[in-house]
């Protein structure tokens, strides 16, 4: 028996998400250290055995876009116009956030993500040290994007300092285990083309990813056209910000030419259906056209102030419903593709080659779902497993979570953090903040 080994024993179904998209029945998974060593009928004994008779095992889900500390503003403001929501409600509070708010907000997000089966998230925020601290304690993975703006805000005393922070972050976490860093210019309404050019340099110099909001709203496109006489995607190209390391988030208002440009540069795309619908962005990201042009696409929840949860199961179903409805085509966005967007495809978006599928040699990020629930019954055949995962399950159905070979949640209980303490701490720091 090797130390730090786990055996997931006799799983009802293993949704491998391998290249053949195999779903195995009554097989086991043997994990040693932080790697999957065998999928099938392993004979090795393990430190820890997870009986999985009635359970579905799938790769840990990957959230390609969020702002984790914004859990603090969940439900704080809803059903308002974008202007009122942001300027009157969200921003005045967010601008008072100090280190402790970032830390506890992110810790709350980590708890929610673990509970909902998400083992990896791409964040886009500030005070990254605080987020890293929370992620370290929680035991999941992330890619932390240092937000870059020209506007002086709470998060951003001056661009120069922000770049210094960004470079330090990137250097510190470039090669580290569960945490990586990236550069995250905000959008053209708040960040100048010159700043985007500097970001492109960081990408080249440090070989890191670049996350940015692109074509989220009509106003953003109009702003770019008015001020720079170019559409945002053309501006990104001009600034040297289109490459396979670029992650373009939202993309509701992209044109056919924009999609071609993404394809030419192998730009990665992130779709946030729930957030975009909730904010009424006016257009829907042309997901079908993008898939047809072989773009690599992941799903993101966006922050809690505009979603209001971090549930990738909900994101999968809503994504499918939105496009079926919008295209008047019930065959659009089938269950298998939805699951791809939060596993194998998401791993490609985030340049994580040994994540996103259950295969020997891959890192051991796995989640389990107990099927002994009315809404996950019956299971007619293998297709039903997929269908029940995408169209019936929700984050709350996740029972166990393994990340980097470690058990972070067992039968609904998180092993790394004291949930109730975090809720109480969050309550207190918010009482203080609003006083």
């Amino acid at each position: 028996m090797k130390p730090n080994s786990v055996l997931i024993k006799n799983a009802g179904w293993i949704v491998t998400q391998n290249s053949k998209r195999e779903i195995l029945s009554n097989k086991s998974i043997y994990i040693e250290g932080n790697r999957i060593v065998e999928v099938g009928n392993p004979k090795s004994e393990a430190d820890f055995i997870l009986e999985a008779d009635h359970k579905i095992v799938l790769p840990g889900l990957m959230n390609c876009h969020t702002h984790s500390p914004m859990t603090l503003l969940r439900g704080y403001s809803d059903d308002k116009s974008l202007e009122e929501w942001w300027f009157k409600d969200i921003y005045p509070v967010e601008s008072k956030f100090k280190s402790k708010h970032i830390y506890y907000g992110s810790l709350l997000a980590c708890i929610e993500m673990i509970k909902f089966g998400c083992t990896y998230f791409a964040d886009f925020y500030y005070f990254l040290d605080q987020i890293a601290k929370a992620v370290n304690e929680a035991g999941i993975r992330c890619n932390l994007g240092q937000g870059i703006l020209d506007v002086e805000t709470f998060e951003f005393p001056s661009k120069k300092i922000a770049f210094l922070i960004a470079k330090r972050m990137v250097r510190k976490w470039r090669k580290k285990g569960r945490i990586k860093a990236s550069i995250a210019p905000h959008m053209f309404q708040t960040t100048s083309p010159e700043t985007y050019e500097e970001c492109a340099e960081i990408v080249r110099k440090y070989n890191v990813l670049l996350q940015t909001h692109v074509c989220e709203s009509k106003k953003e496109v109009e702003f770019a056209l008015k001020n720079y006489e170019k559409r945002p995607v053309d501006l990104l190209e001009e600034c040297g910000c289109l490459s396979d390391k670029t992650i373009a988030v939202h993309c509701n208002w992209v044109s056919g030419d924009d999609i071609k440009k993404f394809s030419k540069y192998d730009v990665k795309v992130v779709h946030c259906p729930v957030s975009n619908m909730k904010l009424g962005e006016g257009k829907i990201m042309p997901l079908k056209d993008m898939i047809r042009q072989n773009l690599t696409i992941g799903l993101g929840t966006d922050g809690c102030a505009s979603n209001n949860s971090l549930d990738l199961f909900e994101e999968m179903k809503t994504c499918s419903l939105l496009h079926k409805s919008h295209l008047n085509d019930p065959t659009a966005m089938p269950a298998q593709k939805m699951l791809d967007l939060v596993t194998v495809d998401a791993a490609k978006v985030l340049h994580e080659e040994d994540l996103g599928s259950i295969e020997e040699g891959n890192k051991a990020d796995l989640i389990l779902i107990d099927t002994r629930k009315p809404h996950l019954q019956p299971i007619h055949r293998k297709h039903t497993v997929l269908s029940n995962l995408v169209y019936s399950a929700k984050g709350q159905d996740v029972s166990d979570v393994i990340c980097d070979g470690k058990l972070l949640m067992e039968d609904g209980r998180i092993t790394t953090l004291n949930e109730e303490e975090v809720y109480e701490k969050v309550r207190r720091i918010l009482l203080e903040l609003f006083r």
Copy 2:
């Protein structure tokens, strides 16, 4: 201490849904028999005390449209064109359903509904005796609509027999407690105007509700225009089927004139956003226009073959997202209105005057949600309670359910049925059916 009394003690929040839409903090609810006797600071002792410190109490949710036995076909066929889905996959299996399939399918639905906080559903199916048996055992409420078609199908050996069954059902359950019956002509593609006229007679004679699918698809409207030279709603009027007892389900393709007619006759409307999106119906029910014209509207999940769950929390959020997105207006369909659609408004749709809100004298149908979960934190103020219920909670968050004064679920465990036995029985009868 009175027998059959329950005290919900010191609830974190009581979302009353009374006419002022009050949300009370740290109050209690005293129930005697099947009625709410006091909301506030009752001094009475009770048989059973439910401690509710961290819980939100709300009225039991009401599902205004489903086909409960179709849980058996959950995940059996998805992502297909309407024709392929229905004729190749669903109908060939459904047509083999016998009494036991209806009974166990409906029992599975009842378990799911209790778990997800739904205490009342309007069903639209056949073999109603079997559904009634399941509902009786589960302990929830329903209004069972006897499906009426002219086409000879499995469910429907001949129209004459169906009407005999319908009349028997209606007489049997007209005045009964938790179960009521109604008449449910299918739609104009399968049911003739003459048959609709006979249904209208039953409504008048027995004073019962009439449920029917109306303007769900473009084809249905075209069929009516081609065969009867009238739109479906005009045909309903001609057949005497428009009244305050009429429940018009789906209504994706209604015109402005149709809405006016609904308003004139006080017709009730049921919206099924998830099912309509999943089947890609091509148009979205004009909910905002209908609300503006003061129509009474409820939400329905539709059957599990096209949803694929019976979760009214998901239905509320999806409804809000769909219309915000479609109307390009983040202020559309706010949280409070969404909750109304599954409580007070639904009660009006179903002509249940003492359900849908937590008020003294009302029937005791109540559900509780434990807020000690990451996605239901923080709670800034009363508004956040509503927002978290609609935009963050899912059916899985319901902890306790009371219906007709009886505790049907305590801390996630159903008291009236053996869940695992039902799953196993469903598995076996389906194995048989597919052999």
